[in-house]
């Protein structure tokens, strides 16, 4: 089990932590005998249901952190809107990046838990046709075929007609923005969530696979004659409204995982069989590791050399988003989570349960987790130390960059096999949870 000091070197939860983060060694994770007085207490799964309760505890802590950092982002954004300057814009951007740290770790709860999967689109849908929200440079804008709302520009439009439907957009409210998601039936019409806010802070990335992120000037939020890009007041209003919605959405999700509340999702989860709980945990880990992270978020972008398919395409923060997605997978497996205030949560885990079944195999499985973390760390190092970001690594003909991404993908594929193996060791043959009619 990790001690506080080793966790400190494993990474603080501010954004730059990924630079410093190392992998917790296999032995540290599985060793139950090397604790010091300062280390968190060790929990061994006396009862399998404790593992699922602890999983819910980690979900709660992760969503609480996402809420805390979203509120900090709102404070920084209010400052930007009230006093637009390059400094206040930079602080708002830093707050956005910090908010992504816990949220990306929370995505492992999305698959397997319908309450999260039904909810998350409003917060993290991507890729988006940003011309729905604000001005774009048309020569650098490729949008979904057949999307009638791709050039709607809500910020400049007090009313809008899409697919024959006339909409009054005068008063930008959280509900209105939420209703504009998937406008005209297109999933690329994303009006809310982290990526909408990202676009409002950074603007379009016009650099393709060359260096550089979006470069929206702070004056896009200025009032009066200093305003650039037009409609600055409405842009500011949009930003703060989108953040209000983000905060209320995160408040809802924290409620779903609270132990004190009856009839919430947590109580449903804990009332299910242990097998079903394990299945949800494992399905979340495997689906994020393979289909979503290795596939949709990395392989598509790499094989197509497509910056349109880059996850954080406006801010070029993709390396961190991928790193923390993977850390979330590890959190669930090891039952450990470091909160944004530095506190560490530990408890009964699948990793310990697997080790009780087969110590040797458990070590091999954790080695695969370590390797994926190292491989994703290399993407972080490339960006933060060498200044070569994910959208540059996927450029056509860049063998070195491409191979770095390929290695990360391969490590996630291996990690997924390890998750399947762990499932087998604890007797979970069927990985797809029975979630009524919900299709993940």
């Amino acid at each position: 089990m990790m001690s506080n000091s080793s966790l400190a070197t494993a990474g603080s939860l501010i954004l730059t932590s990924a630079l410093l983060a190392g992998c917790d060694s296999v032995e540290e994770t599985l060793n139950t005998s090397s604790n010091t007085d300062e280390s968190p207490s060790v929990h061994i799964a006396e009862n399998s249901s404790d593992i699922i309760a602890h999983y819910a505890d980690i979900a709660l802590a992760t969503y609480e952190d996402a809420l805390i950092t979203a509120k900090a982002l709102k404070v920084a954004s209010v400052e930007l809107v009230n006093s637009p300057s390059e400094e206040s814009l930079a602080l708002a951007k830093a707050a956005w990046k910090a908010a992504r740290v816990p949220y990306q770790q929370s995505e492992v709860f999305r698959f397997g838990n319908p309450v999260v999967d039904d909810w998350e689109g409003q917060l993290n849908a991507w890729p988006l046709d940003e011309g729905l929200i604000d001005y774009v440079q048309s020569t650098h804008y490729d949008y979904e075929m057949g999307n009638d709302g791709a050039l709607a520009n809500i910020i400049s439009s007090p009313e809008l007609t899409v697919s024959g439907e006339k909409l009054d957009l005068n008063n930008l409210t959280p509900q209105l923005l939420a209703d504009l998601n998937e406008l005209g039936g297109s999933e690329a019409n994303v009006a809310t969530g982290y990526h909408a806010v990202e676009f409002l802070l950074w603007g379009q990335d016009l650099n393709g696979t060359a260096p550089g992120a979006g470069n929206r000037p702070a004056t896009d939020f200025s009032q009066g004659a200093d305003c650039t890009g037009g409609n600055c007041e409405r842009r500011s209003q949009y930003l703060l409204t989108a953040l209000d919605l983000l905060i209320s959405d995160l408040e809802y999700m924290t409620q779903q995982w609270q132990p004190e509340i009856k009839d919430n999702y947590r109580s449903d989860l804990l009332s299910e069989s242990v097998d079903q709980g394990f299945r949800k945990m494992l399905f979340g880990m495997g689906s994020l590791s393979l289909g979503e992270l290795a596939g949709e978020r990395m392989k598509v972008a790499l094989e197509a050399n497509s910056t349109e398919d880059e996850h954080d395409c406006f801010s070029d923060n993709t390396h961190n988003s991928h790193f923390y997605n993977n850390l979330g997978i590890r959190n669930v497996y090891t039952g450990q989570y470091q909160r944004v205030n530095g506190d560490v949560i530990t408890g009964p885990s699948l990793a310990r349960l697997v080790a009780e079944k087969d110590e040797e195999q458990a070590l091999a499985i954790l080695t695969d987790f370590d390797q994926s973390q190292r491989a994703l760390q290399k993407l972080v190092d490339s960006a933060e130390k060498d200044g070569i970001f994910f959208d540059q690594l996927i450029a056509s003909g860049d063998d070195k960059g491409n191979n770095l991404v390929k290695s990360a993908i391969s490590s996630l594929v291996a990690q997924t096999s390890a998750i399947e193996e762990a499932a087998g060791l604890i007797g979970i043959q069927q990985l797809n949870p029975d979630t009524a009619d919900h299709q993940f």
Partner: protein, 345 residues
Amino acid sequence: MKMYLKLIILSLSLTGCDQFFPEQLDLSRSPMTVLLEDQIHPRYTSLVSEASSLRNLASEFCLNPDNKNFGLLQQQWRTTMLSWQSAEAVSQLMLEENMEGWRFQFWPDKKNLTGRKVEERLKSKAPIPLLSDSVILQGLSASEYLLFDTKANNALALKKTEYCQFLIENTEALFANSMELQQNWEKSGSYYIKLMAMERGKNALGLNGWVLNSLDAQTSRLKKELALPLGKNRTNLFMAESWRSRQSLENIRTVLAAFDALVALAIEQSASQEQAAVWQNIVLELDNLSLSMQNLPYDFTTAIKQGRADELRSLKEQINSLSTQIVRTASKLEIPLGFNSSDGD
């Protein structure tokens, strides 16, 4: 094939004869060898053959670009795509690890990356070798753009040499990639070696495991193929597979035919009457799907124009139902279903 499956199930319930299957089995071959020799190898032989014909026709057309040759070329593209669909359906498990399928078909392509990448390459003064370039440019999706998109069609009709040059490069790359996959399945090939090593290991899939996991992975894809163009509140035909060549539904038919063949093989190779009977619900689902597909046209666009969106939605539900039966059958046979690349989309 459907009648054949039905007869097997029927004979099980009527005869109760334990000797039914052994009489039909070639005991000199293991079930996995039968899978390789009877299902996988023939499909890759066909793919290579069709890709070779496509390559030859592309060269002929570019030497003599007339309408007749163009029609033949379009038809050959359709056949090659169906051949790929069939090969992929029985071997997806091995292709999935490196997402090899994208070298043949890039879908979904929401933002027309295929068209844009082809046009970008055509403008390049010194393009890198195609096999080193994006996989999007190497496969059937790029040649579909050249052969069926109006803009590219016009360019080919105007005998623009760069379009023809790229068509030749693309079809050559497709042939080379098809050959590579075929060789991977030969006795010294990487897939064959990997499969055999897996079968000797403690996590051996076995024939039932292969069939069920293949069905599971491909069914996830079929769900997506139906869900994306049907959308939530409207249809978007650009999201259909092979929308340019308008054979999206024919692709699905081909995949379902491959499912039939895999299930028939699993039943034939079953160790007992009881084990064979476990497949009955999947057979019934496939049968229903076959009936539903029977009168549908080749593609989504025509089906929508004919006002048959409800039939397509019903097809989607039937695919969901098949998916449920795959999971239940796996559970009965105690076969683990692994993660697949469509999980989490």
